[in-house]
Structure formats: C-alpha cells, structure tokens
C-alpha cells in the first residue's frame, strides 16, 4: 500500500512537471509568433498607405516633390541578386557535389570548416572585402561588387545544403547507377542530382531570402543611384538601400516610402520561404519511395 501511494505521488509529480514543461514551451512559442505578427502588422499599417503602382514603377522624386517610387531599386535588386545567384549556384553546387563524393580527408574537412566560418562572418565585413577587392582598386562603386558580396553570403548556405541534399538521396540509388557502369560524376549529375533537385532549389530560395534584405554590404558596393541603371559596372539603386536612406531621412514622404519598401522586402521573403516549403514538401515525397 505504502509503495503504491508513493508510486502515485511520483506519477502526479511527473505529470505536473511534464505539464509545466509543455506550458513553458508553448508560452515561448507564442512570444516568438506574437513578436513576428506585431512586426508584420506594424509594417503593413505604416507601409500599405504608400504602396501603389507609382511606388513600384517610378523613379524616386527629389525631396519636396510628392510621389515617386523605388522602381529602379526593385530592378537593381533583381539584377544584383540575379548575378549573385548565377555565380553562387555553380560554385556552391559543385562544391557540394565534391564534398558529398569525397567527403572525408583533410581538404573536405577544411572546406566545411571554412564554409561554416564564412556563414558566420558579419555581412558588413563581407561588404568591406568586396569594397577592398572590387571597388577601391577600380575607383568606383558598382552593382557587380554588390553581387560579389551577395555571392559570398549565399555560398556557405548553398554548399552545406547541397551537400546534405545530395547525401540524403538513398545510397541504393547511387549504387544502382554505379552498378550500371556509370562514372561517379555521371551518376551524380544524371541520377543523384535530379533526385535531390527540389531540396537544392529549396536551399537556393532560402539563400536568396537570406540576402535580399541585406543592406550593410550594399552601402559601399552598389552605393545607390537615382536613375534606371542596368549596367552592373555602375553604381545601382537597390531596394534595401533605399529603405535605409529613406528611413533615416527627415521627410515624412520618404519615411512612408521606407515603410512601404520594408513591406515589399518582407513580402518577398514571405513568398520565397513559402516557395521553399512547397519545394521541400515535394522533395520529401520524392525521397519516400
């Protein structure tokens, strides 16, 4: 009897602790979610008013002239991200393939370590590096130097996730290809990589989402521009940069536009993340079989 009573007491205590744990975890999750919703709501309230067609399609107007937009910044964001992606994808993917094929030994370990370090380097330091190698020697700001900085920011994410994506393809699939007499590289490119493709695209979308709102490295690379600039060798307007400039300006018109720009950026990240989730779901389905 005494034993069973102590057993019951023990059980009650364990239930209590378990319940408390769940409550604390839930509260923490709520705090995070609520913070996010507040930020989102705030940006929508402040920015939605200035968000209209002119804002998306027009050049910035000079101070004091109402209206105007960030059309050139949106275009510049696309150009700079496009160039950065075009450089980061082949390098990141091939490095990921290399790491997944020849994963052991000092060189791959060093690569992984460096890639982890690179992912922890503050973006402003990356921007400074781009400034030192591509802006200072050429004596002018350029969109390309911003793309270069973005590429450095995207690389670690692409390298590690593409390695993981390739590794997550069942070994039996790879063996099947090798057993047919395919070379290691061909088996990877023709059979393994397509199987891993949804996961790799997910990684790419997340990498783009990661850099689309980066502002610090743009300050001394893309620099900004008042015109429709499409030459990557020239300074170029970028949305994130315009948000920064407008937000710290003393003009209410510009401040409202900064909020609208921030809303655009959040919207872009939202869409990219959603796309990444959808791709990931496809990837999981593909691997189940």
């Amino acid at each position: 009897m005494a034993q069973s009573a102590s057993k019951n007491r023990n059980l009650a205590r364990r239930r209590l602790i378990g319940g408390l744990g769940i409550a604390v975890a839930l509260a923490c999750a709520m705090i995070g979610a609520v913070c996010l919703l507040i930020i989102l709501g705030f940006v929508i309230v402040q920015g939605a008013g200035a968000l209209n067609r002119d804002f998306l399609t027009q050049l910035p107007h000079p101070v004091g002239v109402p209206g105007g937009g960030v059309g050139n910044g949106i275009l510049g964001t696309f150009i700079i991200l496009g160039i950065a992606t075009a450089m980061a994808v082949p390098i990141g993917l091939l490095t990921g393939i290399y790491l997944s094929l020849f994963g052991r030994g000092p060189i791959p370990e060093a690569l992984r370590f460096l890639s982890d370090v690179l992912s922890g380097v503050p973006s402003i330091a990356i921007g400074l590096f781009a400034y030192a190698v591509l802006v200072a020697p050429l004596k002018h700001f350029s969109a390309f130097s911003a793309s270069f900085a973005f590429m450095m920011l995207m690389l670690p994410l692409l390298v590690r996730t593409s390695e993981q994506a390739i590794r997550s393809v069942p070994q039996t699939v790879r063996e099947g290809a090798l057993a047919l007499g395919m070379s290691n590289f061909r088996a990877t490119v023709r059979i393994v990589l397509p199987t891993a493709r949804p996961a790799i695209i997910t990684a790419l979308l997340l990498a783009i989402a990661r850099v689309i709102g980066e502002t610090a490295p743009l300050l001394f690379t893309a620099f900004g521009s008042q015109f429709w600039e499409t030459n990557p060798n020239n300074p170029m307007a970028v949305l994130a940069l315009q948000v920064f400039t407008y937000a710290i300006s003393p003009y209410p018109n510009w401040q409202a536009q900064a909020w609208a720009g921030a809303l655009l950026l959040i919207g872009a990240v939202f869409v990219l993340s959603l796309g990444a989730r959808l791709m990931l779901r496809r990837a999981m389905r593909g691997l189940e079989a």
Binding site: P170, V173, E175, L180, G181, I191, P194, T195, A289
Partner: protein, 260 residues
C-alpha cells in the same frame, strides 16, 4: 596459391575482402557455371553479399573497402592494374536487394539508362522493349512507359531493375537477394524469370532462402563465418547434391536447420 583450371566465365581466386581493418571474406576460390544460376547461401553476416559485391567491383565504392586476390572474368583479372571498374560493371550487371529504380527517370528512361551508346530513338525503343520483355514486364508497362517507376509495385520495380541491367547487355548478372523485399507471388515471378534469364546470362544470386536456392539454382555455394567473424566458403556443389548429400558437416547442419 592454387590455380584453378576453369573454362568458366567468372571465377575467383583466393579472394579476400576487407572493410578497413575488418576482414569480411577470406580466401574464396570458386568458379561460377556459365549460363546457369549459382546460388550463394549462408546465415546473415557470412560474407555472401560482400563476395557478390566484389564480383563487379561495387564493393570498393565503400570508404576503405578493399580486396585481395583476384576475380577472373573470361580469364582476365578484373582487379588488374589497368582495368577500368566502369567497363567491368557494364559486363557484370547487378540487381539489388531492394528495388532501386531511378526516381526521376521515366520507366522507359530507366530501362535504357545504360543501354549501349549511339542508339537512335527507334533503336532505343526496341532495346527497351526487348529488355522489358526479357524481364517479363513489357505487357504491364507498355502503355505507361513515360510515367514514373515509383507508381509500380515492388515486384514490378524489381523487374524494371532487372530490365535495366539486361539492357546494358552484360555477360553476368549478379543478384543480391532479389526477392528479399517482395511478397510470395512477386517472388515466384522473379524466380521464374531467373530460370529463363540464365539461358542467356551467367547468374550469381545471393539468397537467404534455402528453398529458393533449391528451386532456381543449378550450383549452390555455402558460406559461413568462422569464430572470428570472417566469411569463408565451406562447400560448393551441384544444388541437388549439396541439399541431399552435403560433404561438409556444417553444410548439413545449416540445411537441416540444426544451425547453432
């Protein structure tokens, strides 16, 4: 070192296989009968799958895996210094324990994934039909060649893998417990297929299942791990003889279920 006088297509000589420092198979010398099914039987961990994987050099794709001794394919040592493992794997096809069709390729593209190069569209189609027919799968998939292989049943997927191996026009077919993940009906289909394929190919099949070895093979090899866990070849003989009058006491214990 004993030299085996053999006119057989595939044979091993003093073959040992290692994973790093651990030896998995020791000194196996065996010749596989041409255009017949040879079965490798033995309890789990006796090295039969490792032995099989040495025969097309797929063993060595594992990190730190290595091989000593030789495997003779038509008299040539496939572990010779100037031999390209990819060329060997084209001559020695393999079917795995679990069906492993390429998930992103269609049924058709799976079949001809490694068909001989330089075929035009029509020749490819013919090669695919021939391979799928010889894998007894054509009638079931001929209307959905462009669809994903993942929609097929497990047994159909396994036959697709057999078709894929056959389409590469190998001389030898290795089968690593090809029915281990299949139900009895699908198993019967595959066994029947093995009996018909051995008219064209030299087949070496690993199986857990003694009845299966008795049903499909003409030669059976029995392997057993010694007390240090190293797999050794105990006995190889005509299947009928091995299952009725085994010459080794350990073989008799195993096939009569008195295995400790």
């Amino acid at each position: 070192m004993t030299t085996i006088a053999t006119g057989e297509l595939l044979a091993t000589q003093d073959l040992s296989a290692y994973y790093g420092n651990r030896q998995a198979v020791a000194e196996v010398t065996i010749a596989f009968r041409r255009k017949a099914v040879s079965a490798l039987i033995g309890p789990s961990g006796c090295g039969k799958t490792t032995l099989l994987r040495c025969l097309n050099r797929i063993h060595e794709i594992n990190f730190e895996a290595r091989v000593e001794g030789s495997v003779l394919l038509d008299g040539q040592d496939i572990y010779g210094g100037d031999v390209d493992p990819m060329a060997i794997r084209r001559r020695v096809g393999m079917v795995f324990q679990r069906p492993n069709p390429f998930p992103t390729l269609s049924i058709l593209d799976n079949t001809v994934a490694c068909a001989p190069k330089g075929l035009n569209r029509r020749e490819k189609m013919e090669a695919a039909e021939r391979a799928l027919r010889s894998a007894a799968l054509w009638d079931e998939v001929k209307d959905k060649l462009k669809t994903s292989p993942l929609r097929l049943s497990g047994g159909q997927q396994q036959r697709l893998c057999i078709a894929r191996a056959v389409a590469a026009e190998p001389e030898v077919l290795l089968m690593d417990e090809p029915t281990a993940s299949l139900d009895p009906i699908a198993t019967a289909v595959i066994e029947e297929l093995m009996s018909s394929l051995c008219k064209e190919f030299t087949i070496v099949a690993v199986t857990h299942n003694m009845q299966q070895a008795a049903r499909v093979s003409s030669v059976t090899a029995f392997m057993l791990a010694d007390e240090t866990g190293i797999g050794r070849l105990i006995e190889v003989d005509d299947t009928a003889k091995l299952f009725t009058k085994p010459s080794d006491r350990r073989t008799e214990d195993y096939i009569s279920g008195r295995f400790g």
